[in-house]
């Protein structure tokens, strides 16, 4: 029993793995109860995402914003902050990227594309800065303010689209070619999926997060504040400034996630009557990825695969796609209740001896 607790690294790695297995098992049980064939369902998911180029392409495409929103949540987590506002930061980033793309459409691609992405990052950063500032200055819990900021983002972006960038179909016009991430090459390679160059941006972002957190003094400070704000303050760090910085950087990642949707997947932004959910999925991705860059990529791959694979699952095994939502929710429950898994593992170990 002691050995398990001492070996914390292995332990924290086991928790997400076991959670995923338990989640998939629970999903299978639900399918059995409701009269579906779980084997056929899981088989159709795996077959489509690994052996059908279109679905493989779509899976990687779906991973792009999930990686970025996962990084956003993970980055804030590292400073002990819970950014539920990724959804809103993503929406303002999305809008800003599209607006810049359309507004400065005459600029050459080499200038416009980075400009649109950076503008989206800035917009997201501002949206993250507000809850960070309120936390630092007024001690307001960031969970509540970020939720409120989500709704403000939803209504404000809808209003801005309706007032300034409206075109038929409840959406903005498409961004010009010079601001687009889409690629004919990638599209042909994957038999017409919407895969775009954004996956490179997502990978770069993952490296940037790793670099900031583990290779810079500032990153050390941010993590230190996350571990113990009081000790950090005693050591002479400015806790408040780190809180604000962390939320702003987190928001920037989320803003870029929005830019990927706006410049890559869709090339425009629709008027959303409700949230798109990528920001909330980011929470699941970050948790599953243990708030590390590499873990976030794996987590995003899993959830993107489940989501895209669920389309084939519905057509082949007849299981409604919503089952995947249930599985993801259960995985979050299991990861969150890691105490339960620890307890179970210790029990198993005891029983084995």
């Amino acid at each position: 029993m002691k050995r398990i607790f001492n070996n914390n690294r292995l332990f924290s790695f086991l928790i997400p793995v076991i959670s995923v297995i338990l989640g998939l098992l629970a999903g299978a049980i639900i399918m059995l109860i409701t009269g579906y064939n779980p084997l056929l369902a899981y088989q159709s998911i795996i077959h489509s995402i690994f052996f059908e180029p279109y679905y493989s392409g779509e899976t990687i495409r779906a991973m792009i914003p999930l990686v970025l929103s996962g990084l956003a949540v993970a980055f804030a987590f590292r400073t002990g902050l819970f950014n539920i506002g990724v959804e809103g930061q993503l929406l303002v980033g999305w809008f800003t990227a599209v607006a810049v793309g359309i507004g400065f459409g005459d600029l050459p691609k080499a200038v416009l594309l980075p400009l649109a992405i950076i503008a989206a990052a800035l917009a997201g950063a501002i949206w993250g800065f507000v809850p960070g500032f309120l936390k630092a200055r007024f001690k307001v819990h960031e969970v509540i303010t970020t939720i409120m900021m989500n709704y403000i983002a939803l209504h404000v972006t809808n209003y801005l689209i309706r007032t300034y960038l409206y075109t038929q179909g409840e959406r903005t016009p498409s961004v010009p070619e010079s601001a687009s991430l889409s690629s004919k090459f990638l599209m042909d390679l994957t038999q017409g999926s919407r895969l775009h160059w954004g996956f490179i941006v997502a990978l770069i972002a993952a490296v940037i997060m790793w670099f900031i957190l583990w290779k810079t003094t500032k990153g050390y400070e941010l993590r230190s504040v996350g571990f113990n704000p009081n000790a950090s303050k005693y050591a002479g760090m400015n806790v408040n400034r780190n809180v604000i910085l962390s939320m702003a950087i987190s928001g920037a990642f989320a803003g870029v996630a929005g830019a990927m949707e706006g410049l890559g997947t869709y090339q425009y932004m629709t008027i959303n009557s409700t949230f798109i959910g990528i920001g909330f999925d980011g929470i699941a991705v970050a948790l599953l990825g243990l708030n590390t860059s590499i873990g976030v990529i794996f987590g995003a791959a899993l959830f993107a695969g489940l989501k895209i694979g669920s389309i084939s699952m519905q057509s082949i095994a007849g299981v409604p796609t919503d089952l995947v939502q249930i599985i993801i929710a259960l995985i979050i429950f299991f990861v969150a209740s890691s105490y339960l898994i620890r307890w179970l593992l210790v029990r198993l170990k005891k029983g084995g001896k």
């Binding site: 409701t34 819970f82 539920i84 309120l134 200055r137 007024f138 307001v140 819990h141 969970v143 509540i144 303010t145 939720i147 409120m148 900021m149 989500n150 709704y151 403000i152 209504h155 404000v156 809808n158 209003y159 007032t163 009557s273 409700t274 949230f275 909330f280 929470i283 699941a284 948790l287 409604p320 919503d322 089952l323 995947v324 939502q325 249930i326 993801i328 929710a329 259960l330 979050i332 429950f333 990861v335 969150a336 209740s337 890691s338 105490y339 339960l340």
Partner: protein
């Protein structure tokens, strides 16, 4: 159009929109007062609305007629209370991060209810419309009172008055009964409460389950008075709005009710604004974001300081300082 006429449009709509929020916000008060943060109110409302849609149709099939929606609300309350056990189990017994568990509740509720709807109705994403809803009526005698009558007692549903009365009852329970004192004590200082022989876990389970029941009623009331059928987008944000109302109301039942009514007014103005001459020129975005901006301002202390129960969000582990 005179001012009276405008108010006759705006106020009844405001009360109608506020009703589900009042119920759900009261649920939030129970949970947070016991020390468990409940972001899952949205999901619990979804379960309530889903069960209400199904049960009303079933009760109608049994020939219960106009009583169907009322009975459905009760079943929805029980179902949501049971569903909230998941949140209680994760956040109290398994010491999960409560916000994460709440997020999972929201995911699960939406996935599960839409999954079941598709299962029951051959792949269709929405339930049939219920036949007997709780309709707007004029309250006998009271609606004849000049001025007040047309504003507060005409075109309203009985559920609204029940919500307001229950808000006062909840206030009484939380501030004037031994049960309420115990509930608040485990939310403020669980270790002290434990020393005095209060079962912290048990009180918190009760708090969370009450929040489930109330949020379930909130979702059910939304269904039988406003939407009449259930789909994945029926409840989109009302739970979070109720959470905001609870905070804006400073974790106090009466305050939460007041905030919910105020949010209802803002929503009602954004819906009916086009009929009102003065408001026509103001973009409705200001009214739509008003509840959220005001909640943030309330938290920063510009609109009176709001403080959460001290132990809210922290799992209680016996013997740990």
């Amino acid at each position: 159009m005179d001012i009276m006429h405008i108010l006759e449009i705006v106020i009844p709509t405001a009360i109608l929109t506020a009703t589900p929020l009042i119920f759900t916000a009261l649920g939030g008060v129970f949970s947070e007062r016991s020390g468990v943060v409940n972001i899952g109110l949205e999901g619990l409302m979804i379960i309530g609305a889903f069960i209400a849609a199904i049960m009303t149709t079933i009760f109608e099939g049994w020939g219960l007629g106009g009583a169907s929606p009322w009975l459905a609300i009760l079943v929805a309350a029980i179902a949501s209370a049971v569903f909230s056990l998941l949140h209680a189990l994760a956040s109290i017994t398994f010491r999960a991060e409560q916000v994460v568990s709440g997020v999972a509740i929201n995911f699960l509720a939406l996935g599960l209810s839409v999954f079941l709807v598709k299962l029951m109705f051959n792949g269709k994403g929405q339930t049939p419309y219920i036949k007997h809803r709780i309709d707007k009526t004029n309250i006998p005698f009271l609606h004849d009172i000049p001025v007040i009558g047309p504003l507060f007692f005409s075109h309203v549903t009985y559920t609204s008055y029940i919500a307001i009365i229950i808000a006062f009852i909840v206030w009484y329970i939380i501030y004037k009964t031994p049960f309420g004192l115990r509930l608040r004590s485990v939310g403020e200082h669980p270790a002290a409460a434990d020393t005095l022989g209060i079962n912290v876990s048990r009180m918190r389970y009760i708090g969370v389950m009450l929040s489930g029941a109330f949020a379930g009623i909130g979702g059910a009331v939304y269904l039988v008075t406003i939407s009449s059928n259930f789909s994945g987008t029926t409840i989109s944000g009302q739970g979070y709005l109720a959470l905001a109302a609870m905070i804006f109301g400073k974790w106090n039942p009466i305050g939460a009710m007041g905030a919910a009514l105020f949010f209802g007014l803002a929503q009602s103005l954004s819906i009916t604004g086009e009929q009102v001459p003065l408001l026509k020129d103001i973009p409705d975005v200001y009214l739509l974001i008003a509840p959220y901006v005001l909640t943030i301002l309330a938290l920063t202390g510009f609109v009176g300081r709001a403080d959460a129960p001290k132990a809210s969000g922290i799992p209680y582990i016996k013997g740990k300082r």
